[in-house]
């Protein structure tokens, strides 16, 4: 996955740190506002604000790479930089979940929860699929801007359908219940 030579490489701060940190910051603000909104007493006001906030949270946590990845790509970030930058927010979310889990379980169990249970896996696997798709879209856009590289290479082309298949099993097949049972089985094998 190589970038086209027509893209000018900008500073590390501009090409990677700002886009990824901006996404993390927006998530933190939305997370905080959500928790504040849950203290509102009026049910109607509460429901409106939390619903809007919730949709924005899902959009930012799950889909911020739609914006940040192309920014990084066209500011000349390398593939590892783009991956780190785009995964910063999902990883931050998982770490927050890990901390939340320590309220009830040990740190190894909290780690298992944060990276191997349905919601977090949905996010991580979804992110892999999204990044593959964004890579292909960025390449296509760059090619149309007189870049020379191939758009379709094996890794992103295969990763995208693989991620979709995994998402199907995690979320849709049997309403996610079959996958949930597998997670429980693994947990039992590891910790009980």
């Amino acid at each position: 996955m190589q970038q086209t030579s027509v893209i000018k490489k900008q500073s590390l701060c501009r090409r990677m740190a700002i886009p990824s940190l901006a996404a993390v910051m927006v998530w933190m603000v939305l997370n905080t506002s959500y928790n504040i909104f849950t203290t509102i007493q009026d049910p109607g006001f509460y429901a409106t604000l939390t619903d809007i906030n919730w949709i924005l949270l899902v959009a930012v946590v799950g889909f911020s790479a739609v914006i940040t990845y192309p920014i990084m790509y066209f500011r000349g970030a390398s593939l590892p930089e783009r991956l780190i930058g785009a995964m910063a927010l999902p990883l931050a979310f998982c770490l927050k979940e890990m901390f939340r889990a320590t309220v009830a379980v040990s740190i190894p169990e909290a780690f298992f929860y944060a990276f191997f249970t349905s919601v977090q896996l949905l996010l991580l696997v979804g992110q892999v699929g999204l990044l593959s798709l964004m890579e292909l879209i960025c390449r296509k856009t760059a090619t149309s801007k007189k870049g020379v590289n191939k758009v379709l290479t094996p890794v992103p082309t295969l990763l995208f359908p693989m991620a979709l298949t995994a998402l199907y099993f995690i979320l849709i097949y049997d309403g996610g219940y079959a996958f949930h049972l597998k997670v429980k089985m693994v947990y039992r094998a590891l910790f009980l």
């Binding site: 928790n35 619903d51 979940e97 929860y113 429980k184």
Partner: protein, 470 residues
């Protein structure tokens, strides 16, 4: 024997003899009130039908004042029997609570502490004990304890399911009928189980029987029968806490509960439809008892394994030690035995009380291994308090549920909750003023006045629990 010898039957009865006999009779009556099995149980052994549902919230019955849910058959049961409005589970989770109903024991004793720990085949069930007294016994429905189905001792008919690790499915749920797995395509589970229950009743009607009918409904995923698709569609949900008013589950601390995610209102109404469909099936059982002429001598008990949080304190599901999670519907009908039917008893009744009570009704004493107490005196409307408080315990049931180990004490007036191995702080609720456990009183001026007594009670419970565990 000479002429001065005692006659077997006296030919002359003096006034003194009458007084003596009356004295004996009075004494026997007094003893009877202390010894279980000598009053209600003194009658012919009644048939027993115990109906257990899953996740039925305590206030989701017509008779409890829900604004629109329809449960005519459960309402009828309450009208003809005794409804306990202070009934609780000792662990708010399916497997532990189900094992508690069966054994009369706390989870720390029967060992099914969460949905991950297996049933111990050494456990003695109420069905096994009833079988010894001559009952025909049937277990029909949800077993839902980890591992394969056990070979339950003392059970003549055992129909259950292992589908989805025992969780089952509302439709097309394969059943294990006396050990043989059978496909049930096109069947609605609650109806299918009721069909088997009715067969059992018809077959065993000549002898005292005990039917343990355990439903999946209204447990999620919420899939009611299609014929009820439009029921409650336009009803408001302003009876629920604000967290349930949000379209997407508005939960605390970023908690996400898949069961209520995406359109809480739609899922909630499906839950209510499942309650109504379950009620219909209960109606079929009551009708059958009527038509067979068995209703008078059959004790019918309805309850559920645990309550359900509908956004209370920002939570959905159960597990947490808040009243809507702890409290369960509990209704007993026994026309031949209950005094002044239609009553509401305020005594604190627990899931672990079922087994001792059924044994007492069958004329047996409560076995020493059981933790529960018989609520027989409440059925007879005797003024005997059952308990002043009870111990609630919860063991981590992970993943993905992030609820810590809990020890709590619930009295008539307060709920004191402590979390073990967790940074969560203890909580205190005035359950009389705050029946949904929404206002934590910890740190308020009045809290200290009641805390000392609650802590002492809880310490004693925890000590007993540790002793039992050792």
């Amino acid at each position: 024997m000479g002429s001065k010898g005692k006659k077997l039957l006296p030919t002359h009865v003096s006034r003194r003899d009458i007084l003596k006999a009356a004295g004996y009779a009075t004494a026997a009556g007094m003893i009877g009130s202390f010894l279980p099995g000598l009053s209600l149980a003194g009658k012919k052994k009644p048939n027993i039908v115990f109906i257990l549902s899953d996740d039925h919230r305590f206030d989701h019955l017509g008779v409890t004042g829900h604004p629109w849910i329809k449960t005519p058959n459960l309402d009828r049961l309450a009208k003809e029997g005794v409804r306990f409005d202070n009934a609780f589970c000792t662990t708010s989770l399916c497997s532990p609570s189900r094992a508690s109903f069966l054994t009369g024991q706390y989870a720390h004793k029967h060992g099914v502490i969460n949905n991950l720990e297996q049933w111990n085949n050494q456990n003695v069930t109420v069905l096994e004990e009833l079988k010894k007294t001559g009952y025909k016994t049937g277990f029909i429905g949800k077993w839902h304890m980890p591992g394969s189905l056990p070979k339950l001792r003392g059970v003549d008919r055992f129909i259950s399911f292992t589908h989805k690790t025992g969780q089952g499915a509302h439709f097309d749920c394969p059943l294990v009928i006396d050990g043989k797995e059978t496909q049930r395509k096109g069947k609605y589970l609650a109806e299918d189980l009721t069909d088997f229950a009715l067969d059992f009743i018809r077959k065993e009607k000549e002898e005292p029987f005990c039917l343990y009918l355990a439903h999946k409904a209204p447990h999620g995923p919420f899939k009611p029968p299609k014929k009820l698709a439009d029921l409650y569609k336009d009803e408001p949900i302003d009876n629920l806490p604000k967290a349930a008013q949000a379209k997407y589950s508005g939960m605390v601390n970023g908690e996400i509960y898949g069961g209520m995610l995406w359109n809480v209102e739609k899922k909630y109404k499906k839950y209510c439809r499942l309650v109504t469909s379950l009620d219909e099936q209960i109606g079929r059982v009551l009708d059958e008892l009527d038509s067979l002429g068995l209703a008078e001598d059959t004790i019918v008990i309805y309850s559920t394994d645990n309550g359900y949080l509908m956004g209370d304190n920002g939570h959905f599901d159960k597990r947490w030690a808040y009243d809507p999670s702890l409290r369960i519907p509990f209704i007993v009908r026994y026309p031949a035995g209950i005094k002044t039917p239609g009553r509401v008893s305020h005594e604190m009744v627990l899931n672990i009380d079922l087994a001792p009570t059924l044994l007492n009704i069958a004329g047996q004493k409560t076995p020493g291994f059981m933790d529960g107490k018989s609520f027989l005196p409440m059925l007879e409307n005797r003024n005997e308090p059952l308990r002043e408080s009870f111990h609630y315990e919860f063991f981590v049931d992970f993943p993905p549920y992030l609820v810590p180990d809990i020890d709590a004490v619930r009295t008539r007036n307060y709920l004191y909750v402590t979390y073990n191995n967790s940074r969560m702080k203890p909580e205190l609720y005035d359950v009389v003023k705050d029946p949904y456990s929404r206002n934590n009183l910890m740190g308020t001026p009045g809290a200290n006045q009641v805390l000392a007594g609650l802590k002492t009670r809880l310490d004693a419970y925890v000590k007993e629990k540790r002793h039992a565990a050792n």
